[in-house]
Amino acid sequence: MKEKISQLEEKARRLRVAIVKTLHKSQSGHTGGSLSAIDMICALYFHKMRHNPEEPAWEGRDRFVLSKGHAAPALYVALAEAGYFPTEDLMMLRRLGSHLQGHPDSKGTPGVDVCTGSLGQGLSMANGMALGFKLDGKENRVYALLGDGELQEGQIWEAAMAAGHYKTDNLCALVDSNGLQIDGDVSRVMNVSSISDKFRAFGWNVIEIDGHCLHGICTALDAAERHKGAPTAIVATTVKGKGVSIFENKASYHGVTPNDQELPVALRCLGCDCEELENQERIGA
Protein backbone atom coordinates (compact mmCIF):
# COMPACT_ATOMS: atom_id res chain seq x y z
CA MET A 1 0.00 0.00 0.00
CA LYS A 2 2.76 2.40 0.99
CA GLU A 3 4.48 1.85 -2.33
CA LYS A 4 1.21 2.32 -4.21
CA ILE A 5 0.58 5.61 -2.43
CA SER A 6 4.02 6.93 -3.28
CA GLN A 7 3.44 5.91 -6.90
CA LEU A 8 0.14 7.82 -6.85
CA GLU A 9 1.84 10.82 -5.31
CA GLU A 10 4.41 10.87 -8.08
CA LYS A 11 1.64 10.49 -10.66
CA ALA A 12 -0.29 13.38 -9.11
CA ARG A 13 2.84 15.51 -9.26
CA ARG A 14 3.30 14.71 -12.93
CA LEU A 15 -0.37 15.43 -13.60
CA ARG A 16 0.08 18.82 -11.93
CA VAL A 17 3.00 19.50 -14.23
CA ALA A 18 0.80 18.52 -17.17
CA ILE A 19 -1.99 20.84 -15.99
CA VAL A 20 0.38 23.78 -15.71
CA LYS A 21 1.92 23.11 -19.11
CA THR A 22 -1.47 22.60 -20.73
CA LEU A 23 -2.89 25.81 -19.30
CA HIS A 24 0.22 27.75 -20.19
CA LYS A 25 -0.10 26.53 -23.75
CA SER A 26 -3.83 27.26 -24.04
CA GLN A 27 -3.63 30.62 -22.23
CA SER A 28 -7.26 30.01 -21.30
CA GLY A 29 -8.75 27.83 -18.61
CA HIS A 30 -8.97 27.30 -14.88
CA THR A 31 -5.78 26.82 -12.92
CA GLY A 32 -6.69 26.98 -9.23
CA GLY A 33 -9.56 24.50 -9.20
CA SER A 34 -7.75 22.05 -11.47
CA LEU A 35 -4.80 21.90 -9.09
CA SER A 36 -7.03 21.54 -6.03
CA ALA A 37 -8.97 18.64 -7.56
CA ILE A 38 -6.15 16.67 -9.18
CA ASP A 39 -5.23 14.46 -6.22
CA MET A 40 -8.80 13.16 -6.00
CA ILE A 41 -9.02 12.67 -9.76
CA CYS A 42 -5.68 10.85 -9.67
CA ALA A 43 -6.91 8.53 -6.90
CA LEU A 44 -10.13 7.85 -8.80
CA TYR A 45 -8.53 7.04 -12.15
CA PHE A 46 -5.44 5.23 -10.91
CA HIS A 47 -6.64 3.59 -7.73
CA LYS A 48 -10.39 3.28 -7.44
CA MET A 49 -12.38 3.29 -10.65
CA ARG A 50 -12.90 0.29 -12.87
CA HIS A 51 -12.37 1.57 -16.38
CA ASN A 52 -10.65 0.59 -19.57
CA PRO A 53 -9.01 3.24 -21.76
CA GLU A 54 -8.86 0.70 -24.58
CA GLU A 55 -12.64 0.49 -24.49
CA PRO A 56 -14.09 3.82 -23.29
CA ALA A 57 -17.66 2.54 -23.70
CA TRP A 58 -17.08 -0.67 -21.71
CA GLU A 59 -20.36 -1.32 -19.90
CA GLY A 60 -18.71 -2.50 -16.72
CA ARG A 61 -16.92 0.78 -16.16
CA ASP A 62 -17.53 3.05 -13.22
CA ARG A 63 -18.67 6.54 -14.14
CA PHE A 64 -17.13 9.87 -13.29
CA VAL A 65 -19.01 13.16 -13.42
CA LEU A 66 -16.88 16.28 -13.18
CA SER A 67 -19.68 18.48 -11.91
CA LYS A 68 -17.25 21.36 -11.41
CA GLY A 69 -16.62 21.25 -15.13
CA HIS A 70 -14.17 24.14 -15.17
CA ALA A 71 -11.59 21.73 -13.71
CA ALA A 72 -11.61 20.05 -17.13
CA PRO A 73 -7.80 20.31 -17.46
CA ALA A 74 -7.44 18.03 -14.42
CA LEU A 75 -9.76 15.48 -16.02
CA TYR A 76 -8.08 15.72 -19.39
CA VAL A 77 -4.54 15.18 -18.11
CA ALA A 78 -5.75 12.12 -16.17
CA LEU A 79 -7.53 10.71 -19.23
CA ALA A 80 -4.43 11.29 -21.34
CA GLU A 81 -2.24 9.69 -18.69
CA ALA A 82 -4.58 6.70 -18.58
CA GLY A 83 -4.35 6.38 -22.35
CA TYR A 84 -7.77 7.55 -23.57
CA PHE A 85 -6.10 9.83 -26.10
CA PRO A 86 -2.56 10.96 -26.95
CA THR A 87 -0.97 13.40 -24.52
CA GLU A 88 -0.19 15.67 -27.48
CA ASP A 89 -3.93 16.39 -27.74
CA LEU A 90 -3.66 18.37 -24.50
CA MET A 91 -1.87 21.05 -26.47
CA MET A 92 -5.13 21.68 -28.31
CA LEU A 93 -7.16 22.45 -25.18
CA ARG A 94 -9.86 25.03 -25.92
CA ARG A 95 -8.76 25.45 -29.56
CA LEU A 96 -11.25 25.55 -32.40
CA GLY A 97 -11.79 22.04 -33.71
CA SER A 98 -10.26 20.36 -30.66
CA HIS A 99 -12.00 17.49 -28.92
CA LEU A 100 -10.91 19.02 -25.65
CA GLN A 101 -13.59 21.62 -25.06
CA GLY A 102 -13.37 24.31 -22.42
CA HIS A 103 -15.71 22.27 -20.28
CA PRO A 104 -16.25 18.49 -20.53
CA ASP A 105 -18.24 17.44 -23.58
CA SER A 106 -19.20 13.79 -23.87
CA LYS A 107 -19.74 14.04 -27.60
CA GLY A 108 -16.08 14.38 -28.51
CA THR A 109 -13.75 13.24 -25.77
CA PRO A 110 -13.06 9.55 -25.18
CA GLY A 111 -13.63 8.78 -21.50
CA VAL A 112 -15.99 11.69 -20.85
CA ASP A 113 -19.50 10.42 -20.17
CA VAL A 114 -21.50 13.57 -19.52
CA CYS A 115 -21.48 17.23 -20.49
CA THR A 116 -20.81 19.44 -17.50
CA GLY A 117 -19.78 23.00 -16.85
CA SER A 118 -22.96 24.74 -15.94
CA LEU A 119 -22.56 24.35 -12.21
CA GLY A 120 -24.97 22.42 -10.04
CA GLN A 121 -26.15 19.83 -12.52
CA GLY A 122 -23.67 16.99 -12.17
CA LEU A 123 -24.93 15.38 -8.99
CA SER A 124 -28.39 14.95 -10.51
CA MET A 125 -26.91 13.17 -13.51
CA ALA A 126 -24.67 11.03 -11.31
CA ASN A 127 -27.64 10.00 -9.22
CA GLY A 128 -29.59 9.17 -12.37
CA MET A 129 -26.77 6.89 -13.48
CA ALA A 130 -26.63 5.29 -10.04
CA LEU A 131 -30.39 4.67 -10.11
CA GLY A 132 -30.06 3.12 -13.57
CA PHE A 133 -27.32 0.75 -12.42
CA LYS A 134 -29.36 -0.26 -9.38
CA LEU A 135 -32.37 -0.90 -11.57
CA ASP A 136 -30.30 -3.33 -13.64
CA GLY A 137 -28.68 -4.92 -10.60
CA LYS A 138 -25.26 -3.82 -11.83
CA GLU A 139 -22.20 -3.28 -9.66
CA ASN A 140 -20.98 -0.13 -11.41
CA ARG A 141 -20.25 2.81 -9.15
CA VAL A 142 -20.70 6.50 -9.92
CA TYR A 143 -18.42 9.30 -8.70
CA ALA A 144 -19.23 12.99 -8.89
CA LEU A 145 -16.70 15.71 -8.10
CA LEU A 146 -18.25 18.96 -6.88
CA GLY A 147 -16.80 22.31 -5.90
CA ASP A 148 -17.69 23.98 -2.61
CA GLY A 149 -18.78 27.17 -4.38
CA GLU A 150 -20.90 25.00 -6.63
CA LEU A 151 -22.87 23.86 -3.59
CA GLN A 152 -24.56 27.27 -3.67
CA GLU A 153 -26.63 25.99 -6.57
CA GLY A 154 -29.96 24.75 -5.23
CA GLN A 155 -30.11 21.84 -7.62
CA ILE A 156 -27.23 20.21 -5.71
CA TRP A 157 -29.47 19.93 -2.68
CA GLU A 158 -32.38 18.67 -4.73
CA ALA A 159 -30.04 15.94 -5.93
CA ALA A 160 -28.70 15.30 -2.43
CA MET A 161 -32.28 14.93 -1.21
CA ALA A 162 -33.13 12.50 -4.01
CA ALA A 163 -29.99 10.39 -3.54
CA GLY A 164 -30.69 10.19 0.18
CA HIS A 165 -34.29 9.29 -0.52
CA TYR A 166 -33.46 6.57 -3.03
CA LYS A 167 -30.46 5.38 -0.97
CA THR A 168 -28.15 5.21 -3.96
CA ASP A 169 -25.19 3.65 -2.17
CA ASN A 170 -23.40 3.14 -5.49
CA LEU A 171 -22.99 6.91 -5.64
CA CYS A 172 -20.10 8.84 -4.12
CA ALA A 173 -19.86 12.62 -4.20
CA LEU A 174 -16.47 14.22 -3.60
CA VAL A 175 -16.47 17.86 -2.59
CA ASP A 176 -13.33 19.77 -3.53
CA SER A 177 -13.58 22.28 -0.73
CA ASN A 178 -10.90 24.80 -1.50
CA GLY A 179 -12.76 27.66 0.12
CA LEU A 180 -12.53 30.03 -2.83
CA GLN A 181 -14.72 31.03 -5.74
CA ILE A 182 -14.33 33.71 -8.41
CA ASP A 183 -15.46 36.57 -6.22
CA GLY A 184 -13.45 35.50 -3.20
CA ASP A 185 -13.93 33.39 -0.07
CA VAL A 186 -16.84 30.99 -0.31
CA SER A 187 -17.69 31.83 3.29
CA ARG A 188 -17.97 35.50 2.40
CA VAL A 189 -19.69 35.25 -0.98
CA MET A 190 -22.30 32.78 0.27
CA ASN A 191 -21.49 30.60 3.19
CA VAL A 192 -22.24 26.93 2.55
CA SER A 193 -20.91 25.47 5.78
CA SER A 194 -21.34 23.06 7.28
CA ILE A 195 -21.12 20.99 4.12
CA SER A 196 -20.87 17.75 6.08
CA ASP A 197 -23.91 18.54 8.21
CA LYS A 198 -25.95 19.36 5.14
CA PHE A 199 -25.18 16.05 3.45
CA ARG A 200 -25.77 14.17 6.71
CA ALA A 201 -29.15 15.89 7.05
CA PHE A 202 -30.12 14.44 3.68
CA GLY A 203 -29.23 10.95 4.85
CA TRP A 204 -25.74 10.65 3.42
CA ASN A 205 -22.73 8.88 4.84
CA VAL A 206 -20.09 11.58 5.24
CA ILE A 207 -16.30 11.23 5.37
CA GLU A 208 -14.07 14.24 5.95
CA ILE A 209 -10.53 14.17 4.59
CA ASP A 210 -7.53 16.20 3.56
CA GLY A 211 -8.03 16.35 -0.20
CA HIS A 212 -4.31 16.31 -0.91
CA CYS A 213 -3.44 13.25 1.15
CA LEU A 214 -3.55 10.39 -1.32
CA HIS A 215 -3.59 7.81 1.45
CA GLY A 216 -6.61 9.52 2.99
CA ILE A 217 -8.39 9.87 -0.34
CA CYS A 218 -7.89 6.21 -1.23
CA THR A 219 -8.96 5.07 2.23
CA ALA A 220 -12.11 7.21 2.01
CA LEU A 221 -12.95 5.92 -1.48
CA ASP A 222 -12.56 2.34 -0.26
CA ALA A 223 -14.76 3.06 2.76
CA ALA A 224 -17.39 4.70 0.54
CA GLU A 225 -17.55 1.56 -1.59
CA ARG A 226 -18.08 -0.60 1.48
CA HIS A 227 -20.83 1.60 2.92
CA LYS A 228 -24.28 0.23 2.17
CA GLY A 229 -27.71 1.82 2.41
CA ALA A 230 -26.76 5.46 1.74
CA PRO A 231 -24.69 7.47 -0.72
CA THR A 232 -21.36 8.75 0.55
CA ALA A 233 -20.08 12.31 0.47
CA ILE A 234 -16.32 12.72 0.81
CA VAL A 235 -15.81 16.28 1.97
CA ALA A 236 -12.22 17.13 1.14
CA THR A 237 -10.43 20.17 2.42
CA THR A 238 -8.17 21.38 -0.34
CA VAL A 239 -6.01 24.32 -1.37
CA LYS A 240 -6.86 26.20 -4.51
CA GLY A 241 -3.79 26.18 -6.76
CA LYS A 242 -2.21 23.44 -4.63
CA GLY A 243 1.40 22.65 -5.42
CA VAL A 244 2.35 25.98 -6.93
CA SER A 245 3.11 28.50 -4.23
CA ILE A 246 2.39 31.55 -6.39
CA PHE A 247 -1.12 30.24 -7.18
CA GLU A 248 -2.05 28.80 -3.81
CA ASN A 249 -5.10 30.19 -2.01
CA LYS A 250 -5.58 32.95 -4.54
CA ALA A 251 -9.07 33.47 -5.90
CA SER A 252 -7.51 35.49 -8.72
CA TYR A 253 -6.09 32.26 -10.18
CA HIS A 254 -9.56 30.74 -10.54
CA GLY A 255 -9.70 31.37 -14.25
CA VAL A 256 -6.22 32.68 -14.98
CA THR A 257 -3.47 30.67 -16.65
CA PRO A 258 0.27 30.75 -16.00
CA ASN A 259 2.12 33.32 -18.11
CA ASP A 260 5.62 32.92 -19.54
CA GLN A 261 7.26 34.23 -16.37
CA GLU A 262 5.16 32.10 -14.07
CA LEU A 263 5.61 28.85 -15.97
CA PRO A 264 9.20 28.07 -14.93
CA VAL A 265 8.42 29.12 -11.35
CA ALA A 266 5.41 26.82 -11.29
CA LEU A 267 7.32 23.92 -12.76
CA ARG A 268 10.13 24.33 -10.23
CA CYS A 269 7.53 24.37 -7.45
CA LEU A 270 6.32 21.06 -8.78
CA GLY A 271 9.80 19.62 -8.54
CA CYS A 272 10.55 19.51 -12.22
CA ASP A 273 14.10 18.56 -13.01
CA CYS A 274 16.17 20.24 -15.68
CA GLU A 275 14.99 17.85 -18.37
CA GLU A 276 11.33 18.48 -17.61
CA LEU A 277 11.93 22.21 -17.61
CA GLU A 278 13.67 22.13 -20.96
CA ASN A 279 11.12 19.86 -22.52
CA GLN A 280 8.09 21.96 -21.78
CA GLU A 281 6.22 20.91 -24.87
CA ARG A 282 5.96 17.31 -23.75
CA ILE A 283 2.88 17.29 -21.63
CA GLY A 284 2.83 14.70 -18.88
CA ALA A 285 6.35 13.53 -19.71
Binding site: R63, D105, S106, K107, D113, V114, C115, G117, S118, G120, Q121, G122, L123, S124, M125, A126, N127, G128, M129, A130, L131, G132, F133, L135, D136, N140, G154, Q155, E158, A159, M161, A162, H165, Y166
Partner: protein, 310 residues
Protein backbone atom coordinates in the same frame (compact mmCIF):
# COMPACT_ATOMS: atom_id res chain seq x y z
CA UNK B 1 -62.97 13.12 -27.07
CA UNK B 2 -59.93 12.34 -25.00
CA UNK B 3 -57.31 14.49 -23.33
CA UNK B 4 -53.86 14.17 -24.88
CA UNK B 5 -52.43 13.56 -21.41
CA UNK B 6 -54.73 10.55 -20.97
CA UNK B 7 -53.54 9.12 -24.26
CA UNK B 8 -49.98 9.68 -23.03
CA UNK B 9 -50.51 7.80 -19.77
CA UNK B 10 -52.09 4.89 -21.57
CA UNK B 11 -49.39 4.70 -24.25
CA UNK B 12 -46.53 5.10 -21.81
CA UNK B 13 -47.85 2.15 -19.81
CA UNK B 14 -48.10 0.08 -23.00
CA UNK B 15 -44.54 1.00 -23.92
CA UNK B 16 -43.41 0.06 -20.43
CA UNK B 17 -44.67 -3.47 -21.01
CA UNK B 18 -42.93 -3.64 -24.37
CA UNK B 19 -39.56 -2.24 -23.39
CA UNK B 20 -38.09 -2.62 -19.94
CA UNK B 21 -35.59 0.17 -20.56
CA UNK B 22 -38.41 2.68 -20.38
CA UNK B 23 -38.54 4.53 -17.08
CA UNK B 24 -40.71 7.44 -15.96
CA UNK B 25 -40.07 10.40 -13.71
CA UNK B 26 -42.46 12.94 -12.31
CA UNK B 27 -42.31 15.93 -9.99
CA UNK B 28 -45.30 15.31 -7.72
CA UNK B 29 -47.87 15.65 -10.49
CA UNK B 30 -48.18 12.04 -11.59
CA UNK B 31 -51.95 12.09 -11.18
CA UNK B 32 -52.24 15.11 -13.47
CA UNK B 33 -49.57 14.24 -16.00
CA UNK B 34 -50.78 10.60 -16.06
CA UNK B 35 -47.34 9.10 -15.49
CA UNK B 36 -49.05 7.55 -12.47
CA UNK B 37 -50.61 5.00 -14.81
CA UNK B 38 -47.10 3.79 -15.63
CA UNK B 39 -46.07 4.11 -11.99
CA UNK B 40 -48.80 1.77 -10.81
CA UNK B 41 -47.83 -0.88 -13.35
CA UNK B 42 -44.08 -0.54 -13.01
CA UNK B 43 -43.34 0.94 -9.58
CA UNK B 44 -39.67 -0.05 -9.70
CA UNK B 45 -39.22 1.91 -12.93
CA UNK B 46 -41.09 4.99 -11.75
CA UNK B 47 -39.24 7.72 -9.89
CA UNK B 48 -41.18 10.44 -8.19
CA UNK B 49 -38.58 13.16 -7.78
CA UNK B 50 -40.69 15.44 -5.64
CA UNK B 51 -41.21 19.11 -6.35
CA UNK B 52 -37.74 19.52 -7.85
CA UNK B 53 -37.88 19.82 -11.62
CA UNK B 54 -34.26 20.74 -12.28
CA UNK B 55 -33.04 17.63 -10.49
CA UNK B 56 -35.65 15.53 -12.29
CA UNK B 57 -34.25 16.61 -15.65
CA UNK B 58 -30.66 15.89 -14.59
CA UNK B 59 -31.62 12.52 -13.15
CA UNK B 60 -33.32 11.61 -16.41
CA UNK B 61 -30.14 12.58 -18.27
CA UNK B 62 -28.16 10.28 -15.97
CA UNK B 63 -30.58 7.42 -16.53
CA UNK B 64 -30.29 7.97 -20.27
CA UNK B 65 -26.49 7.93 -19.98
CA UNK B 66 -26.65 4.33 -18.73
CA UNK B 67 -29.04 3.12 -21.40
CA UNK B 68 -32.50 3.88 -20.05
CA UNK B 69 -35.21 5.67 -22.03
CA UNK B 70 -36.58 8.15 -19.50
CA UNK B 71 -39.93 9.89 -19.94
CA UNK B 72 -40.21 12.80 -17.57
CA UNK B 73 -43.32 14.82 -16.98
CA UNK B 74 -44.57 17.90 -15.25
CA UNK B 75 -46.60 20.91 -16.34
CA UNK B 76 -45.19 22.65 -19.43
CA UNK B 77 -44.35 25.83 -17.55
CA UNK B 78 -42.24 23.94 -14.98
CA UNK B 79 -40.44 21.82 -17.57
CA UNK B 80 -39.68 24.41 -20.23
CA UNK B 81 -39.57 27.26 -17.74
CA UNK B 82 -38.03 26.21 -14.48
CA UNK B 83 -35.78 23.50 -15.89
CA UNK B 84 -34.87 25.17 -19.16
CA UNK B 85 -31.16 25.32 -18.54
CA UNK B 86 -31.05 21.76 -17.27
CA UNK B 87 -32.82 20.66 -20.44
CA UNK B 88 -30.35 22.63 -22.51
CA UNK B 89 -27.20 21.56 -20.69
CA UNK B 90 -27.87 18.06 -19.36
CA UNK B 91 -30.23 16.80 -22.08
CA UNK B 92 -29.93 18.60 -25.40
CA UNK B 93 -26.20 19.44 -25.41
CA UNK B 94 -25.12 15.80 -25.01
CA UNK B 95 -28.09 14.60 -27.13
CA UNK B 96 -29.31 12.54 -24.18
CA UNK B 97 -32.11 10.14 -24.98
CA UNK B 98 -34.61 11.90 -22.72
CA UNK B 99 -38.30 12.40 -23.50
CA UNK B 100 -39.84 15.45 -21.90
CA UNK B 101 -43.60 15.10 -22.03
CA UNK B 102 -45.01 18.31 -20.68
CA UNK B 103 -48.70 18.46 -19.93
CA UNK B 104 -51.00 21.42 -19.19
CA UNK B 105 -49.51 23.49 -21.99
CA UNK B 106 -51.23 26.62 -23.24
CA UNK B 107 -54.05 28.68 -21.80
CA UNK B 108 -56.52 25.79 -21.48
CA UNK B 109 -54.96 24.84 -18.15
CA UNK B 110 -57.49 27.47 -17.17
CA UNK B 111 -58.38 28.61 -13.69
CA UNK B 112 -54.87 28.44 -12.22
CA UNK B 113 -54.17 31.55 -14.24
CA UNK B 114 -51.18 33.19 -15.87
CA UNK B 115 -48.60 31.67 -13.54
CA UNK B 116 -49.52 28.20 -14.78
CA UNK B 117 -50.33 28.91 -18.40
CA UNK B 118 -47.38 28.15 -20.59
CA UNK B 119 -47.54 30.22 -23.75
CA UNK B 120 -43.78 30.36 -24.31
CA UNK B 121 -42.65 26.75 -24.10
CA UNK B 122 -42.72 25.91 -27.81
CA UNK B 123 -40.53 28.93 -28.55
CA UNK B 124 -38.16 28.10 -25.71
CA UNK B 125 -37.77 24.45 -26.67
CA UNK B 126 -37.53 25.20 -30.37
CA UNK B 127 -34.55 27.48 -29.74
CA UNK B 128 -32.48 24.65 -28.27
CA UNK B 129 -30.25 22.76 -30.73
CA UNK B 130 -30.84 18.98 -30.99
CA UNK B 131 -34.37 19.31 -29.60
CA UNK B 132 -37.38 17.85 -31.37
CA UNK B 133 -40.67 19.59 -30.54
CA UNK B 134 -43.98 17.78 -30.93
CA UNK B 135 -47.45 19.22 -30.31
CA UNK B 136 -50.13 16.62 -31.07
CA UNK B 137 -53.60 17.64 -32.19
CA UNK B 138 -55.57 14.99 -30.34
CA UNK B 139 -55.42 11.78 -28.34
CA UNK B 140 -54.99 9.57 -31.33
CA UNK B 141 -52.00 11.50 -32.59
CA UNK B 142 -50.56 11.62 -29.09
CA UNK B 143 -50.42 7.83 -29.01
CA UNK B 144 -48.36 7.81 -32.20
CA UNK B 145 -46.25 10.73 -31.04
CA UNK B 146 -45.32 9.03 -27.76
CA UNK B 147 -44.35 5.88 -29.62
CA UNK B 148 -42.34 7.91 -32.12
CA UNK B 149 -40.62 9.76 -29.26
CA UNK B 150 -39.66 6.45 -27.64
CA UNK B 151 -38.26 5.15 -30.91
CA UNK B 152 -36.39 8.38 -31.72
CA UNK B 153 -32.82 8.48 -30.42
CA UNK B 154 -32.28 11.84 -28.76
CA UNK B 155 -34.08 14.59 -26.88
CA UNK B 156 -37.79 15.12 -27.54
CA UNK B 157 -40.23 17.64 -26.08
CA UNK B 158 -43.89 16.69 -26.39
CA UNK B 159 -46.44 19.34 -25.43
CA UNK B 160 -49.82 18.13 -24.24
CA UNK B 161 -52.94 19.74 -22.80
CA UNK B 162 -55.14 19.31 -19.79
CA UNK B 163 -58.58 19.10 -21.34
CA UNK B 164 -60.38 16.61 -23.51
CA UNK B 165 -60.15 17.62 -27.14
CA UNK B 166 -62.20 16.43 -30.13
CA UNK B 167 -60.60 13.81 -32.33
CA UNK B 168 -59.08 15.16 -35.52
CA UNK B 169 -57.52 11.90 -36.62
CA UNK B 170 -59.02 8.45 -37.00
CA UNK B 171 -57.94 5.49 -34.90
CA UNK B 172 -54.58 4.12 -36.00
CA UNK B 173 -53.42 7.47 -37.44
CA UNK B 174 -49.70 7.19 -38.08
CA UNK B 175 -47.38 9.82 -36.71
CA UNK B 176 -43.98 10.51 -38.15
CA UNK B 177 -41.60 13.02 -36.58
CA UNK B 178 -41.09 15.98 -38.89
CA UNK B 179 -43.99 15.20 -41.17
CA UNK B 180 -46.99 17.50 -41.43
CA UNK B 181 -50.28 16.44 -42.96
CA UNK B 182 -53.06 18.02 -44.94
CA UNK B 183 -56.19 17.54 -42.87
CA UNK B 184 -58.51 19.53 -45.11
CA UNK B 185 -57.93 20.21 -48.82
CA UNK B 186 -58.35 23.77 -50.04
CA UNK B 187 -57.13 26.25 -52.63
CA UNK B 188 -57.79 29.82 -51.43
CA UNK B 189 -55.77 29.98 -48.24
CA UNK B 190 -54.09 27.65 -45.74
CA UNK B 191 -54.36 27.33 -41.99
CA UNK B 192 -51.07 25.97 -40.68
CA UNK B 193 -51.78 24.74 -37.20
CA UNK B 194 -50.53 22.68 -34.31
CA UNK B 195 -52.00 21.19 -31.14
CA UNK B 196 -55.65 21.69 -30.40
CA UNK B 197 -55.87 24.57 -32.89
CA UNK B 198 -55.91 22.05 -35.71
CA UNK B 199 -59.36 20.89 -34.67
CA UNK B 200 -60.43 24.53 -34.39
CA UNK B 201 -59.09 25.25 -37.88
CA UNK B 202 -61.00 22.31 -39.32
CA UNK B 203 -64.20 23.85 -37.96
CA UNK B 204 -63.16 27.24 -39.36
CA UNK B 205 -62.51 25.72 -42.77
CA UNK B 206 -66.04 24.30 -42.82
CA UNK B 207 -67.51 27.70 -41.99
CA UNK B 208 -65.43 29.36 -44.70
CA UNK B 209 -66.55 26.78 -47.22
CA UNK B 210 -70.15 27.87 -46.59
CA UNK B 211 -69.04 31.37 -47.49
CA UNK B 212 -67.38 30.25 -50.69
CA UNK B 213 -63.75 30.31 -49.48
CA UNK B 214 -61.77 27.11 -49.89
CA UNK B 215 -59.44 26.80 -46.91
CA UNK B 216 -56.76 24.17 -46.58
CA UNK B 217 -55.72 22.92 -43.14
CA UNK B 218 -52.15 21.74 -42.73
CA UNK B 219 -51.39 20.25 -39.35
CA UNK B 220 -47.82 20.26 -38.10
CA UNK B 221 -47.63 17.75 -35.26
CA UNK B 222 -43.91 18.47 -35.20
CA UNK B 223 -42.97 22.12 -34.82
CA UNK B 224 -39.27 21.22 -34.97
CA UNK B 225 -38.02 19.96 -37.32
CA UNK B 226 -40.53 21.83 -39.43
CA UNK B 227 -41.98 20.11 -42.49
CA UNK B 228 -40.77 22.82 -44.85
CA UNK B 229 -42.04 21.11 -47.96
CA UNK B 230 -45.70 21.01 -46.97
CA UNK B 231 -45.65 24.65 -45.80
CA UNK B 232 -43.94 26.00 -48.91
CA UNK B 233 -46.27 23.96 -51.11
CA UNK B 234 -49.29 25.42 -49.32
CA UNK B 235 -47.88 28.93 -49.59
CA UNK B 236 -47.28 28.56 -53.31
CA UNK B 237 -50.60 26.90 -54.03
CA UNK B 238 -52.90 29.03 -51.88
CA UNK B 239 -50.98 32.28 -51.55
CA UNK B 240 -52.11 33.00 -47.97
CA UNK B 241 -51.01 31.38 -44.72
CA UNK B 242 -52.76 31.75 -41.37
CA UNK B 243 -50.94 30.04 -38.52
CA UNK B 244 -52.79 29.15 -35.34
CA UNK B 245 -51.46 27.87 -32.05
CA UNK B 246 -52.38 27.88 -28.37
CA UNK B 247 -49.15 29.70 -27.66
CA UNK B 248 -47.56 33.09 -28.00
CA UNK B 249 -47.22 34.38 -31.54
CA UNK B 250 -43.60 35.06 -30.62
CA UNK B 251 -41.28 32.24 -31.57
CA UNK B 252 -43.69 29.34 -31.75
CA UNK B 253 -45.28 27.74 -34.79
CA UNK B 254 -46.17 31.13 -36.28
CA UNK B 255 -42.62 32.32 -35.78
CA UNK B 256 -41.21 29.16 -37.32
CA UNK B 257 -43.45 29.41 -40.38
CA UNK B 258 -42.73 33.13 -40.77
CA UNK B 259 -38.98 32.49 -40.61
CA UNK B 260 -39.25 29.79 -43.25
CA UNK B 261 -41.48 31.72 -45.62
CA UNK B 262 -39.58 34.96 -45.11
CA UNK B 263 -36.43 33.26 -46.36
CA UNK B 264 -37.75 30.86 -48.93
CA UNK B 265 -41.16 31.95 -50.16
CA UNK B 266 -42.42 35.36 -48.95
CA UNK B 267 -46.15 34.96 -48.52
CA UNK B 268 -49.05 36.97 -47.16
CA UNK B 269 -49.49 35.62 -43.65
CA UNK B 270 -51.14 36.12 -40.29
CA UNK B 271 -50.17 34.58 -36.97
CA UNK B 272 -53.03 33.70 -34.64
CA UNK B 273 -52.08 32.99 -31.06
CA UNK B 274 -51.59 34.77 -27.77
CA UNK B 275 -50.38 38.26 -28.60
CA UNK B 276 -47.33 38.71 -26.37
CA UNK B 277 -49.08 38.68 -23.03
CA UNK B 278 -49.54 36.41 -20.05
CA UNK B 279 -52.54 34.22 -19.44
CA UNK B 280 -55.27 34.87 -16.93
CA UNK B 281 -57.71 32.86 -14.84
CA UNK B 282 -60.86 31.56 -16.43
CA UNK B 283 -62.51 28.47 -17.83
CA UNK B 284 -60.72 26.90 -20.77
CA UNK B 285 -63.48 27.66 -23.23
CA UNK B 286 -63.72 31.24 -22.01
CA UNK B 287 -59.97 31.66 -22.38
CA UNK B 288 -59.92 30.34 -25.93
CA UNK B 289 -62.51 33.00 -26.72
CA UNK B 290 -60.67 35.66 -24.73
CA UNK B 291 -57.44 35.05 -26.61
CA UNK B 292 -59.14 34.75 -29.99
CA UNK B 293 -58.48 31.06 -30.44
CA UNK B 294 -61.90 30.07 -31.75
CA UNK B 295 -63.15 28.93 -35.14
CA UNK B 296 -65.11 32.21 -35.40
CA UNK B 297 -61.97 34.22 -34.89
CA UNK B 298 -60.02 32.13 -37.39
CA UNK B 299 -62.80 32.76 -39.93
CA UNK B 300 -62.56 36.50 -39.34
CA UNK B 301 -58.78 36.55 -39.61
CA UNK B 302 -58.88 34.40 -42.73
CA UNK B 303 -61.46 36.58 -44.45
CA UNK B 304 -59.56 39.72 -43.65
CA UNK B 305 -56.29 38.45 -45.04
CA UNK B 306 -58.00 36.74 -47.96
CA UNK B 307 -59.42 40.13 -48.93
CA UNK B 308 -55.88 41.50 -49.03
CA UNK B 309 -54.82 38.71 -51.36
CA UNK B 310 -57.14 39.90 -54.11
Amino acid sequence: MIATRDAYGETLAELGAENENIVALDADLSGSTKTGVFGKKFPERFFNMGIAEANMVGTAAGLAAVGKIPFLSTFAIFAAGRAWEQIRQSVAYPKANVKIVATHGGVTVGEDGGSHQSVEDIAIMRAIPNMTVIVPADGEETKGAIRAAAAHKGPVYVRLGRNKVPNVFPKGHTFEIGKGCEVVAGTDLTFVTTGLMTGVAVAAAEKLKAEGISARVVHLGTVKPLDKEIVIKAAKETGVIVTAEEHSVVGGLGGAVAELLGEECPTLMKRVGVYDRFGTSGKSEELLKYFGLTAENLVEEAKEIFARKK
